[in-house]
Symmetry: C2
Subunit: 674 residues, 2 copies
Amino acid sequence: MASLEEYRRKASFDVRRMLTEIEPQENREIKKKVWHFLASNPLFHEDYTMNGDSKKAKDRTAQQLKVFLSSSGLFANIDDLTYATRTKYLLLVNEGLEIYNANLSIKLALGVMMFSNALNCLGTERHQQFYKDIWAGKILSCFAITELEHGSDTKELKTSAEYDHSTREFVINTPGIGAAKCWVGNLGQQCTHALLMAQLVVNGTCHGLHGFVVPIRDPETLRPYLGITVGDIGEKSGLHGIDNGFIMFKNYRIPRENILNRLADVNENGEYQTFTDPLRMLGASLEILSAGRVGIVNESSNCLLRSIVIAVRYAAQRRQFRDSNGIEKPIIEYQTHQYRLMPYLAATYAIRNFAMEFSKQYVHCVGLSRDDSADMTGVYQSVGGIHAVLCCSKSLITWTTQRAIQEAREACGGHGYHKSAGLGDLRNNHDPRVTFEGDNTVLLQQTSNWLLKLFNETSDRDFSEYPLCLVKFLTNVESILPKKFVGRRKEDVCNVTFVTECFEWLLCWLLKSTNEKMTALLVKHNDRFVARNQCQVFKAKELSLVFAEYIIISHFKAKIDACQDPSISSVLRKLCSLYGLWCLHSHLPLLYQGGYCNTPALADCLSDGVLLLCEAIKPDAVALVDAIAPPDFILNSAIGCYNGKVYENLMNAFRKIENGHFPLEYPDFWKSKL
Amino acid sequence: MASLEEYRRKASFDVRRMLTEIEPQENREIKKKVWHFLASNPLFHEDYTMNGDSKKAKDRTAQQLKVFLSSSGLFANIDDLTYATRTKYLLLVNEGLEIYNANLSIKLALGVMMFSNALNCLGTERHQQFYKDIWAGKILSCFAITELEHGSDTKELKTSAEYDHSTREFVINTPGIGAAKCWVGNLGQQCTHALLMAQLVVNGTCHGLHGFVVPIRDPETLRPYLGITVGDIGEKSGLHGIDNGFIMFKNYRIPRENILNRLADVNENGEYQTFTDPLRMLGASLEILSAGRVGIVNESSNCLLRSIVIAVRYAAQRRQFRDSNGIEKPIIEYQTHQYRLMPYLAATYAIRNFAMEFSKQYVHCVGLSRDDSADMTGVYQSVGGIHAVLCCSKSLITWTTQRAIQEAREACGGHGYHKSAGLGDLRNNHDPRVTFEGDNTVLLQQTSNWLLKLFNETSDRDFSEYPLCLVKFLTNVESILPKKFVGRRKEDVCNVTFVTECFEWLLCWLLKSTNEKMTALLVKHNDRFVARNQCQVFKAKELSLVFAEYIIISHFKAKIDACQDPSISSVLRKLCSLYGLWCLHSHLPLLYQGGYCNTPALADCLSDGVLLLCEAIKPDAVALVDAIAPPDFILNSAIGCYNGKVYENLMNAFRKIENGHFPLEYPDFWKSKL
Ligand SMILES: Cc1cc2nc3c(=O)[nH]c(=O)nc-3n(C[C@H](O)[C@H](O)[C@H](O)COP(=O)(O)OP(=O)(O)OC[C@H]3O[C@@H](n4cnc5c(N)ncnc54)[C@H](O)[C@@H]3O)c2cc1C
Ligand SMILES: Cc1cc2nc3c(=O)[nH]c(=O)nc-3n(C[C@H](O)[C@H](O)[C@H](O)COP(=O)(O)OP(=O)(O)OC[C@H]3O[C@@H](n4cnc5c(N)ncnc54)[C@H](O)[C@@H]3O)c2cc1C
């Protein structure tokens, strides 16, 4: 505590002001409600002395879900909210929950939120009863898409739903074990209904994937119905509280009404019909595909936050080795340690700001697509752009977080490996986010394809709308590309203007050179598949990742430019510069390859700049994590508490004292503002 | 299987010949004995359907240890072997065990092997009984060094052992909870004796850390003795089978004879005595400090091997997305996927070769230090060098492996997250290796200090002895530094000669520029502590890591140069080049900073070279992993089997069929050679 307080006193800004600047009061209010409920009921107290028995964990999560839905009071007025307000609200509840209990938040998201969202955008009035039952906790759902042999390539899914007009039913079949649905969360033991994606066959013709609501278990007894083989897939590398399951169908029949028929249907006469309003379809697909990814961006940025709060607080207290004056140094004073943590602290601020801002824009855009009076061409452009931005940012953010958690674990030394530190579970539970809701490597290709298309479009484009405004630099490619690095000292690069310019140059160069390589490969092979594949590494893949960094930085820059308080904006500016330079440093090979510089100056300046900013942020680091940290109960880390009692907490954890959790206490600066 | 067999047919070399080339027959024989024993007794069958209940895991590991010691027959003649032969033999047994069961191997290493090694090098005849009892399984030990407040900085350990001449005993005390020993493996529930490091106090004078054998529990009942507070530290992020414990002493008395007195003692008159033969002391400290690290280098390279075998086999079978001809491609055909896996495959060959070669040299050097007739100055130089090489290679290898496991997990998509894939446990169990036996970041400083010292030594040095022969390039600094990159096409860099030259230039430049920075900082601050700290990032830290890569490559090059079979050496050469270029590509910022090139050519060539080699190795990848993979039972991964039944295995794992393990079968090419 002593040394935490010392660092707090050194801060160059007021934590309260930072808090209000970076997160709207109403967001905090919602999360605070979630946290109070979790702290008030022992059923929700996560106990770090518990071992990893997954049977118990699944039971517990199931029980928690029931109580959370029925007793938290958080969903009482959910039906009165407009679509946009509801979506925003649910994202925040999810965020507040996820930071404390990833299992429960995923169970709730899959079982309730995403299902109701899917009914909303793919279903019709017909499915209202499901909607009501799900929020009433009477039924629980899952999303059954992935099969044993196919994940990313959903087109190849083999589960079929063939329409039988004689009984007005769909007959569902699994042709071979390769087509068994698997990995489906909630399916293993508990869900009553599946939202199933299957190939719709009508009169012998396959019409591609469609969504069906498929009853799985009797809601009273939870016994599976006849005609299906369903079970839990067993032990995983994390998320032990989720019952991921597999299922195989054999002539399993469901009523005609169970197809989600907002976009296509089988009518009374047994004929296949589509409702061809492409823009609406696009809107619907945005909601259905993107909602989960927007959730992940938020969740992942919270995991990043947790890891960095823990590591920075620990680093400010842990002392190891004496200096020449015999003073034992807090490890945060070591250059290597600053370099390991400060860039991730900067990334946390940048990414969190992006997640909040982007969620807002996403909700806005979805709202527009549901508004009949809105201008649909604008929405059309936005939808494509939002999808592209989401694909690359989901990838970049989940990868950054996964690395940050590992770095935090290592930075906390041996104690970071104790369960009570919270970092092991965080890593294991976060890990699948790089894979599900779209494998990162596969998603990145969608962004680069979109960027290359924009780059090659000669027609006039309107860059005033979000998210297209982010690619405005495309209008200046010709003037940007000839630029060269002219700086000479680290001070020349330690600012947001340089960072932005350098990123824009890099993006233009990557677009140009990826495009050239692609064109040459097309000429050579006359095969788009081959050409795309062979221009990924060091080209299209980097393009997408650099673009994601650029948009995160652009959002952060906008935030800083709008900030009125100079003591706050000056710190934020340092964070933005550090995040930018740290990214650019990792792209030095590309910057030299593109000829942005042909002397050692750029590498010198970026290296020195990164170190300078790490050192400059260090005195503010503790206050910076204070401003984003949840209360100790929620952070739930023996070595990361606000109160700083690292060794007492660890000893309690070793001796299994105090039931393995911390009191829900808000620091003073929180209390006064909440 | 189909596609595994196809790739096997495409291989450019004979797997049998590769096998004999890269690992001596007798090594395989020893590991095969271990594996046969493990497979023959159900107690040792690791079941991937088991959940992570750590209580059960600890019990099970304890039981396994008992049976392994008493019934495997592997230790029957252990006392008849010479020190060198025994050490080598035990390293191999450990390796064979570790690849299948990390918990058991660690428990055995801490509880028996390292203890007996410590008795050997720090103890005297007096301690023979302990030595006999430990191998007879009558007692079990632990290594108690780390305290709650101090890990890396062992000088600051506070536990004290004060000599009481009236009773001829040491009185052990823990002054405050910060001095509680913790994290000590085997201490939590099971060990009977601790090898304790404590500050020796005689007549009020502290003589620094010394080793003591301290009885902890009654060997019959396992009940702890009075005067100590000992317990299990509880849940960790992995290694659930190890009972890590904490302990606090209050006036706890042990006999005078329990001090390990080969180097220092308290004599009959109650006086402190040292036996000042500095060279012998050095040898002893090499054995005691380094044995564990040599073990880690071997274990970690096996973990790397496991992850890459699994990921490559899976990539050759998993098909996702159809090409323009409608053929579904194995994911190993994707450029991104090759770039994710082939460098780690190359790293596996390079690192494994280093681990084997270095172990041999280490054992040889320790043997010399025990041989009274040997020339001690040579040994002296070797000991320092071996320590320096081990510090940086332990760090590099454990980090490389930790990243490789994560990459493999992600490369196997969702299925990679299933427990039966084996990657989650591998990651969680490997993780602490970056921290224990010396935290990587701290160890790297020891290597850079040694290198800088060599660099600044003006006296004549003898570079003929191992490991000094590895730094022979230091005699040519003047002629190396002015060199520039002159290549123009990727073919110019895809060879071991370029790789070696480029590394030597980089090392010289890093030495020079780190040294300059250090000197400038010393002038400025007149404080070695400050100066050292501030020249770590992008300088001393990189110097050590690059040096580790260089020595790994040098050993690999020597291996290749000695290889007689052109079909084998040609593949090995590609692997060596790829590993080298991949490392160098990550150092491009330094290469440009140092002015090794001032055009885009170097970045171009290295990028293209890496991709070229990834593609060139791909057709051999399956055969390359076959040549290093253990049998399916030992590999123990549903998605990495030699027989290639990925989907059947997964389905069995989902349905918990087959008791969660695979038969011990050797592929044909193994059988014929074993
Ligand atoms: C914890 C967890 C929960 C899940 N929950 C659900 C759920 O509730 N419902 C559900 O339906 N599914 C669920 N899934 C499955 C998840 O959606 C899939 O894992 C994901 O879509 C990726 O597909 P895949 O695993 O088949 O990987 P694959 O598509 O087989 O990819 C494997 C590897 O190949 C690479 N690759 C593939 N194609 C290409 C290409 N064209 N170019 C380059 N590289 C390529 C990928 O990068 C990846 O590394 C879950 C998975 C996990 C791990
Ligand atoms: C699974 C496991 C098993 C273990 N088993 C045993 C055992 O059997 N017996 C035993 O005695 N101990 C054991 N340990 C403890 C282990 O030896 C220590 O964790 C290790 O020595 C590192 O010390 P520390 O944890 O105190 O880290 P610290 O020394 O506190 O380091 C914390 C962080 O600070 C950084 N740091 C520290 N000093 C510097 C510096 N000068 N410059 C830059 N950075 C610095 C480090 O890089 C690290 O990231 C075990 C630990 C684990 C996790």
